[in-house]
Amino acid sequence: MSRARTLVRDTGERWRRWAWRLAGYAVFLGAWQGVSTFLVEGFVVPPPRAILTEMGGIVASGQVWIHFGATLRTIAIGFAVAYALGAAAGMLMGRSRWWEAFLSDWVLATLTTPGLIFALVAAMIFGLGPAGPVAAVIVTSFSYVAVNVVEGVKAVPHELVDMARAFGRGPAPVVRHIYLPFLAPYLFTAVRYGFSIAWKIATLSEVIVGTAGIGFMMRQKFQEFSMTGFLAWVLLFFAFALFLERVVVQRGMRRVLRWRVTAAVR
């Protein structure tokens, strides 16, 4: 197939996907408006327009930066620590069956335990303030990173490592040019799942013990029974998570994994 025809087909495909995505939003918002207008009182399920106005107010007042800043700080610190620990544990478990025996039950335990439990334990240990949410984020997202890295390390193509050894390349170039590029998709998946867990736990912890942050604001709006305010924060949170996924994670993945895409279109 010619390059021009492939381009036209890809462009058409992209437009069709966007059309379906917009249709999804339109149907969802229409249903929401319908429920708000005909089925329940507006203060229980406020119409989309009211939520949008509230979101605009939150942005204009500058509150959004204060509380997103607080939550992002919690996530950045917690997830960075979890990622470093999880990647190290995953490397050890993937390369040594002794380390796997040592760590695997603990990783499995943290993976299967509901995040709420860690949020509550952290709240009891650290009390009010930012330390509890950070600790809860570390414990819960650690295992998601570790599990993905273990799988990647176990699947590293040893024939490539042998090739490098046969040509006299030492451990440092093997890690840089074979392990890291091969593990890139696993590391991205770890970021994706670990980060989504980190968001949830950070917000949950802030609902319980936060003194600032998105979760803290949700708790405040819940106590005021302001469904409009509550949903406005929820949607701001959703918009930000979507931005991170679509713009930061997916673009990063495309960039790092472009060799796969190029090879697939030959």
Binding site: E159, L160, D162, M163, A164, R165, A166, F167, G168, R169, P173, H177, I178, P181, F182, A184, W259, R260, T262, A263, A264, R266
Partner: protein
Amino acid sequence: MAGVRVRELRKEFPGGDPPVVAIEDISFTVDGQEFVSVVGPSGCGKSTLLNILSGIDTATRGQVDITQNGRPARLGYVFQSARLLPWRSVLDNLLFVQPARGPADRERCRRYLDMVRLGHTAGQYPGQLSGGMQQRVGIARAFSIEPDLLLMDEPFSHLDAITARSLRRELHDLWQETRKTVLFVTHDVSEAVELSTRILMLAPGGRLVADLPVRLPFPRDPAADEVALARADLLRRFESLDLLAG
């Protein structure tokens, strides 16, 4: 040119009782500029032998001495599959192994890509090439470090007959041009007769059962009578040893 001296080399794999013997106390030498094929049926320790020579694997006992004018020789390796890094371009795959030769030299790498007629693919990823083209990149990679000794492990066994034949010709031309010392592992008797100056016959259990010079002029046409006779003679030797039965 590099010389290879192998003395009483033995490789056992633990786990069985007694342990599985992959190579049984073999000794041989390869002199500079020779093209030596190691021929034998599957599982007779051919690849294990190359892995030990290249340092990928270790011997249970015995001595391996590969030197070039008194210093350790530089080794190039062509594997059964191309073993290219799929996330690096063709040229970058050659550059990856250059520290074995010295500072990375893009021009030298391009020259060897041109020699296998793949200069135009330098910027492409391996996944964009056919299996035969990938194997040619593997050959160019091994030659690009200008090795003293070239180890080749059934490099054409995964390719279709037509591509394999064309690559054999290319390899022969490259060898004629560079006169590298080559140790070539194959289970294909015809291939060994077509390419080699000497053939080492390996039997199951890793026993070296014959060391035969091939005194036929190059280039060798696989369909020519003298090549067919040499091939038949070699096959008869294998049959007399009852090596092909299993």
